[in-house]
């Protein structure tokens, strides 16, 4: 027994070394285009972790994570735009000139400060999520009503950002790849490499953070909310508080994710707040395995990678595949790939094919029928 434990510890250590080596080496091995894609998918893994926290562990299916994702992206883009606007006439970003805006809108001002921006990237989406969540959870609106309301909220934010040219460049979005950071072009290969490392580091940190949450007592309350909320309420917990907090945390994670995605894709636009994108986030988690944090990361990276590969080869077929994935994962694989592997999935499959021995539920019953069973 002790041997296996030690063996597992060594194995984990080895795995970590391999992962770290892969992350450090990736920018030198992969071409810039692929590296950039990988970096983007890794940043999407962070928002997937948030979705897993609220859906996989707490049972709240949010279809509006795009709001927080885009808010984080806008925060980063506003800072970058301001940072490189000082040489321009008026000292304000170029696009304002198109709409005849002379003065910076008031809410842009704080984004001159890098410190404020770094905080705002996760705090602003978090606070918005907390407010939205509190208003909804306070009334015990849940289940599908919650999903619909988050989707409606998403549409509202989309309409708002899409329509306000004079405030945030409306449907065109804010470009970041030609802006300056630390005297370097954000879109340049060296900066992209740094962003890749930053993303990888933040994915690991976000994973550790999420793991700490779900393994703590807080996490047990979340699972309690998912499995039987009324019972939890009767035992004296206040589900509203817990739900609001975890929704805010997921919002913050989405914000970080959005900021990283923005600097690596070169633009943030209301397209981040479209309805399909937010539902896609759910399917990453569902395929990877809800309720398993690693599953969320693997699902996000793997599905997006598959998406880009399939779309390059057969553009029209991705929608069919994606639609099929939604149906398949819900009907046949509700625990996702990782959940299936962790439960007795593979053995069940093998025994059904007649390769492995069928799993017996109560082995003692079959080995020794006379013995009394204590369940």
């Amino acid at each position: 027994m002790k041997g296996t434990k030690q063996f597992r510890r060594w194995l984990t250590l080895l795995l970590w070394i391999v992962i770290l080596a892969a992350i450090i080496a990736a920018p030198f091995v992969l071409p810039v285009f692929r590296l950039n894609l990988l970096g983007r998918y890794l940043s999407l893994a962070i928002v997937a972790l948030g979705v897993d926290l609220i859906w996989g562990y707490t049972g709240l299916l949010s279809l509006g994570q795009g709001i927080f994702f885009a808010l984080g992206g806008y925060c980063a883009a506003m800072y970058l735009q301001l940072n490189s606007a000082s040489e321009l006439p008026n000292g304000i970003p170029e696009f304002f000139g198109l709409y005849g805006v002379k003065n910076l809108p008031f809410f842009w001002e704080p984004f001159n400060s890098p410190l404020f921006t770094t905080i705002a990237i996760w705090l602003l989406p978090g606070v918005v999520a907390a407010m939205l969540g509190f208003l909804v959870f306070r009334n015990r609106i849940k289940g599908v009503y919650f999903s619909i309301l988050t989707q409606a909220a998403l549409l509202v934010f989309f309409n708002f950002f899409n329509g306000q040219q004079k405030l945030i460049n409306g449907t065109n979005g804010l470009k970041t790849d030609v802006t300056q950071l630390f005297g370097q072009m954000v879109g340049s290969p060296s900066m992209q490499r740094c962003f890749f490392w930053l993303t990888a580091l933040l994915v690991i940190l976000a994973w550790l953070f999420s793991r700490w949450i779900v393994r703590d007592r807080f996490g047990h309350v979340l699972v309690g909310i998912r499995d039987d909320e009324p019972r939890l309420r009767f035992t004296g917990y206040n589900p509203t508080l817990f739900k609001t907090i975890i929704f805010a945390i997921a919002g913050g994670l989405a914000g970080i994710s959005g900021a990283l995605y923005t600097v690596q894709s070169g633009i943030v636009s209301p397209q981040f707040m479209t309805v399909p994108f937010s539902i896609e986030m759910v399917i990453w988690v569902a395929v990877g395995g809800r309720g398993t944090l690693l599953g969320a990361i693997i699902g996000a990276v793997f599905i997006n990678y598959a998406k880009s590969l399939v779309s390059e080869a057969l553009p029209a077929s991705w929608m069919f595949i994606q639609g099929g994935l939604f149906i398949l994962v819900v009907t046949a694989l509700p625990e996702g790939v990782l959940g299936w592997l962790q439960s007795e999935g593979p053995r069940n499959l093998l025994s059904r094919l007649g390769i492995a021995r069928p799993i017996s539920t109560y082995p003692s019953l079959e080995i020794d029928g006379k013995k009394e069973i204590n369940l």
Partner: protein, 384 residues
Amino acid sequence: MELILECLFNGVAIGSVLLVAALGLAIVFGLMGVINLAHGELMMLGAYSTYVTQLIFKLPALKPFYNAYVIVALVVAFIVSAVVGILLERSVIRRLYGSPLETLLATWGVSLILQQFVRSVPLAYGAGLVLSLLVGFISPFLLPQKLLEGSRGRLVRAASWAFSALVGVLGAGGLGSLVSRLGRASARNVDVTAPSWMRGGIDLWGVTFPIPRLVIIVITFIAVLGITWFLNRSVWGMRIRAVTQNRSMSDCLGISTERVDVLTFGIGSGLAGVAGVAVSLLGSVGPNVGASYIVGCFMVVVLGGVGNLLGTVLASFSIGIMTDLIGAGRLLSIWPDMPTPLASAVDFFATTSMARVLVFALIVVFLQFRPAGLFPQKGRMVEA
């Protein structure tokens, strides 16, 4: 006076599109607790059915009846959407009763597939597929019951499906060769041209009422009346209401809940098709036409309260009137000497998209006071 009349008309017009679209959703969601995100795509199918019907009526043989194609399209759209809806219920949703979130995701997958289907498959093939499904669904009821029993029944069923497949292939081929435009796949939006009697408007009391809008209001009115009658007066409507109230008790009393599910879902989907006809009269038809309505429909259902048609009607009209009032900036023309700060606020929201923003905010505020909508379901269901 004219202003109020115009405002009211526009609001009712916007509201009735919402209502006819939300009606099917309200039935499926309210009665079965199923979130159907593919509802918008069923509307889209209805809109495409209108387009196909219109093209068929342009054929020389049917040209004299061209003006009546809208009425035929209503029936065709209802049947097409109902058939696809029933297929959806039988194949996917049936496995997921009791887990609404899973249903939501699965129906989203269906909606993606349907959208891509109309993009990359010629409409004639789609029509053939629906035709064969229709024949396949109906044929067991037409054959003598004796034939369907026992081991021979399986064979008969298989034969009937083979026959319906043949009908579908023939239908698709015939349609594709008769109307060449249906034989090719196209991702482009198409336009449904209204028949001559539907163009223009009627002038009354100094206000112009566009006829397509009036037609939509009439369609909505008939749909609501028909559904109300069906649910409250017919035998199957009574069964549907019984299953809604207590599924297991209805089952014990001998109501086939499975049939009720199919029927309810079929009617809900068929109403989506009718809504599709209405939508096709307003603008061009594309694979995404349904997606733009679906969130609005859900807001209607949430605001109206579940399982209550009156709530749905009131909710959609109030949303329609609010949207028009805010979006067209009518408050300013009703009350011209408004204080400046208020006027600028009204002006800020006076676009269609910003009106949506404000209307949603108002709905969320409203739900703070009435979390279960306008007319909450009464009963002892603590955690419905």
